[in-house]
Every structure is written in C-alpha cells, then in structure tokens.
C-alpha cells in the first residue's frame, strides 16, 4: 500500500479545508471500497482525511416531508430506519441485497455513491489495459471476459458497470445529493451525479475533487411505498447484480398507470433510469404485456458482447417481474 498521511476531521468545513489543494488526498469513510482498492494498488492517495467523526449520521424528516439521509449513515442504519422502511421499501431491499451484514455496518451512504466498478480489468493492476485506471491504455474487457459488463450507455473506451444496489433505488427516486466544497453547499440531481464513460471513463462522477458529500435527500413520493427491488445474481446472496431493477408504480382505477419509476443496475456505467420504458407505460393498464412492451422499448438500444448478451433478455424479464410484483402489492 502506498504511504499516506492520516488526519481526523471533526466537522465538514474542517474536512473540506484539510483536503483543499491536495489533488491526491481522499476522504476516508467506511473504507470498505477505498481501503480495498489501496491494498490492490488501484487507489494511491498520499493523504487520507478520516471523516467518520463528522456529525453526518442522521436520518430525519425535513419540514417539507422529504427525508434527509446523512452521508455517514451506515447502510445498515438506513435499511433499518422506520421512515425508509415505510416510505421507500425498495431502497431497503436494495441495501439489504448488497454486500454482507459486516460490510453494511461499515459502508456509508456517501461512500456507496462513490463505489468504483468491480470490472476485473480495472480492479487488478496486473492487467495492463484499463482506460478507467490508466487513461489511454485500452479496455481489457471489450474483447476479454465481459460477462458482468455493460449493455447500455457504454463506449468503446469502457464497458464497466456501476456496482451499487442502493444507487439504483436512488436513481428511481430522483434523489438529491448535497455536497459541500470550499465555496459552500450545493445540490446535485441524482441523474447528474454519475457519468456515462464516453471518452473519459476515468471519471465516475461529476463530483469535483475536494468536495464532500454531506447528505442525500429523498423526495416526497407516496407511491414509492409500493415498490420493489429485484436483484438477479450468480449466488442467492452476497454477490453483485448481473441485472437489477428498482420499480415503483402509481396505479389508478382499473390498474391504469398514472406514474412509473424504473431504474436498472448491473447494465451501465451509472444507475440506468429507464425513462423510455416509463414513458411507454404512462396511461396504460398494468399487465404483463404492457410491461413487456415497455421493457422491449427500453432495451432496443442495448448492445451485448461475447459473454454478456444474455443480459439483454434478462433485463427485459427482470423489468416485467419487478413491475408485476409491485402490482401484486397493490
């Protein structure tokens, strides 16, 4: 592991000051991904600012009924919180389908947003080619073993996927990410937070260096009380998603769809909001056929590779099943 200097911040403004002007510095939260990447030699910060003592672990209802999750709330705390369980059940399901109980006790919400891909070619520096790790070096996955890789929104520079489950539900919810930088606080819409790879796959997010995530705000969305997260993976537990779906439906009389939220995980460089499918569902009566038609439309642009083409059909079926589950709940 690269040597680094360590300091501990006690409030957000000190943390931001401590890292200001240090492009090779990083904030240290739960450490579940960062420490692992440092052991692998993928991340080589020379300065770590420990933010675990910052008072950012609260989960609370705001005066306007939105819910604010502090950036240092641990994944397990969010999954167990009554406000989240009753209002956003698919967020709880997403959190509990990720990692293990030990990791969820450590991993923070802010860190979950900044998780890096588990693409094998990125994670192991023994592989020479990875544009995300070493810009310009090529993409090992493109013609390599690409079973876990992207089918939507990818580029010929990078076909890595975003690994988070939590973020798939947050994408469906249109959450807001609150960040603090040297010039104060600002908000980033969830859809704008993560990036598609394009020709800069080394950048996962639009969060500039030196800015600190302080909270995630969840909107008022009554119909999210009937929502479902479906995760398809190689093992029954403790595995990353091949495909996952976060789905919520607002149903009127005769199961007429008044609003729909669908986001996909395991298919793209960012949590993939299925706007095309959502639009297709509006005003339709909920049925397996409507769901299948919507899924077909969303996946029309999908492109598979040697080992992951199965994900296209899998994603369609997962969308149908997740939406069907939501209807069963109604």
């Amino acid at each position: 592991m690269n040597p680094f200097s360590y300091s501990r911040a006690v409030n957000a403004s000190d943390a931001v000051t401590a890292i200001s002007g240090k492009p090779n510095g990083k904030f240290l939260g739960g450490g579940t991904n960062l420490v692992d990447l440092m052991k692998m030699g993928v991340e080589t910060p020379n300065e770590l600012v420990d933010i675990n003592r910052l008072p950012l672990g609260q989960i609370e209802e705001l005066p306007d009924k939105r819910v604010r999750i502090g950036a240092l709330a641990r994944n397990s705390d969010v999954a167990e919180h009554e406000l989240i369980k009753t209002r956003y059940p698919f967020l709880v399901q997403a959190l509990l389908s990720g990692a293990s109980p030990q990791l969820r006790n450590m991993a923070t919400v802010g860190g979950n947003l900044l998780q890096r891909t588990r693409c094998y070619y990125f994670y192991d520096p023994a592989f020479p080619a990875c544009n995300k790790r070493k810009p310009g070096s090529g993409c090992g996955a493109l013609d390599g073993y690409n079973r876990i890789h992207a089918i939507l929104g990818q580029s010929d520079q990078c076909i890595a996927t975003h690994p988070s489950d939590m973020c798939v539900a947050l994408a469906a919810l249109d959450a807001i990410v609150r960040v603090r930088g040297p010039s104060g606080e600002r908000e980033i819409a969830f859809a704008e937070f993560h990036r598609l790879p394009g020709d800069t796959p080394e950048r996962d997010t639009n969060l500039p260096p030196g800015e600190l995530i302080i909270a995630v705000d969840l909107p008022v969305m009554p119909f999210a009380a009937r929502s479902h997260y479906l995760k398809v993976r190689d093992r029954a537990s403790y595995a990353f998603a091949l495909v996952s779906v976060a789905a919520a439906l607002d149903l009127g009389p005769a199961k007429r769809i008044k609003d729909a939220r669908i986001a996909l995980g395991g298919v793209a460089h960012k949590p993939w909001r299925a706007h095309t499918a959502e639009k297709k569902l509006m005003g339709q009566a909920a049925s397996e056929k409507t769901f299948r038609d919507a899924a077909e439309t969303e996946l029309a642009m999908a492109k598979g590779y040697k080992y992951n083409a199965f994900k296209i059909e899998l994603a369609k079926r997962a969308i149908v099943r997740a939406l069907s589950r939501v209807v069963e709940m109604s």
Binding site: M1, P3, F4, S5, Y6, R8, L28, G31, T32, V35, D36, M38, K39, L48, D50, N52, S76, A99, S100, P101, Q102, L103, N105, M106, A236, S237, Y238
Partner: protein, 223 residues
C-alpha cells in the same frame, strides 16, 4: 508469486533452536515457524512456509517508504492499549501482529470471507478493511473477549456442541458474526440465519452445524 522460500529465510530460522511447546497462541506460532524450518516441512507445506516467513513483521504494507506513525488508543475486550502505528495497518493486523490477539483470522484480506469479523461498539465489521487508526476510543470485542473466564459464551458452546466447524479457521469470525446476528434479531428462521450469515464463508462446508449451533444459542441467552 512462487512457493519458494524468500532469500535469507533459512538463516533467520536457523537462529531458533529451542524445543517447541504447544499452548498459548504465541508459542503455537513460534512452533509453526520452527517446523517450517525443517527440510521435510519445506517439501510438504511450501504455502505455510510463505506465511510463516511473513509472520514476524507487520505486513500491512510491503517494503518501501513508510507513512508517519500515528498514536492510537484501542479498547479491546475491556483493556486499553496504546499504540504507535503506521496508518496503513488494518485493525486486523494490529490485533494479530501488534497485540498478539491472533484469534481473529486473516482469510482473504479483502472483506469477502468474514474470517476477520470482530465487534466494534457491538456491531460486526470486517477488521481487514478497517484501519486501526479509525478506531480511537471504540469498544472492540474479539473472539478472545467473548468467554466469561472459563465459561464459554453460549454461541461458542453451541458451536462445540453441534460441530459448527471442521478445520476451524473461519470459526472465530463465524462466532463473532453469530453473536451479532442474535443481538440484531436476525435468527428467526433457517433462511434468515443463512442470509444474515452470508458474509462468513466456510470452505469446509460446516454450514449445517453452524446453522444448528446458532439456532440452539438463540434459545440460551447469555447468563
């Protein structure tokens, strides 16, 4: 990576000529190092040799420049320890290599196997992915801190009773995890126990015994 001994390894071992004695963890480790020094052991267990050769020095980082050391106070099993450590040292390496609390095991060292599971402020975590310096003031409980004197913790006793192990390497992590699982109230069905123990891998496949042990321990709260 090869299975050959590293340069200079044999001469280091030649210095230890005392008769090995079983007993405390320290003497067990010393014994392993000594038997690893014989040529027979080299032929049979080259993999073991490799780990024994790295055993003496804190291996959280490879050779090369060091970070400035940091002072940290750790509270482990009710005792306070003051350490000056390289901030790269994981909590697991601090326990094993600095404090001789070798009950917590290093399996994968990447948060995937659960052998390093300890309780921090009552919650189970993977000590391999946590830096020791992050735990100033935290209450840490390791497998060594579960028994009450000679009386085993009910989960430990249940693992013995139900053969919740074969080789035993994952067992300290399994037991710490199970203690937390019971406290979390996640042991209400076989499926729930399996799901909430999924962060602890047992390569011997002693899962049936582990499940039975946890179910029994649930009926026997700590005295």
């Amino acid at each position: 990576m090869t299975n050959e001994p590293e340069d200079g390894f044999e001469s280091e071992l030649d210095r230890s000529q005392t008769v090995p004695v079983f007993g405390s963890p320290e003497t067990r480790r010393k014994f392993i190092k000594q038997i690893a020094g014989t040529s027979a052991a080299i032929a049979i267990v080259p993999g073991l040799l490799k780990s024994a050769s790295a055993g003496q020095i804190v291996p959280a980082s490879g050779a090369g420049p060091t970070s400035d050391s940091v002072s940290v106070q750790l509270k482990i099993n009710g005792k306070a320890y003051a350490l000056d450590i390289d901030p790269r040292v994981s909590l697991l390496d601090a326990l094993r290599e600095r404090l001789q609390l070798t009950g917590s095991k290093k399996g994968c060292d990447h948060g995937q196997c659960g052998a390093c599971t300890v309780l921090v402020n009552g919650r189970r975590i993977n000590s391999c992915l946590s830096l020791a310096v992050m735990h100033e003031g935290d209450e840490i409980t390791t497998i060594e801190g579960l028994a009450n004197g000679e009386a085993l913790h009910p989960v430990q006793a249940a693992f013995v009773e139900h053969d919740g192990l074969q080789c035993g390497y994952c067992t300290p992590g399994q037991i710490c995890s199970a203690v937390a699982l019971l406290k979390e109230n996640h042991a209400n069905s076989d499926d729930e126990i399996r799901e909430w123990m999924s962060g602890n891998i047992c390569r011997c496949g002693a899962y049936a015994g582990i499940l039975a042990a946890i179910k029994e321990a649930k009926t026997k709260p700590r005295a």
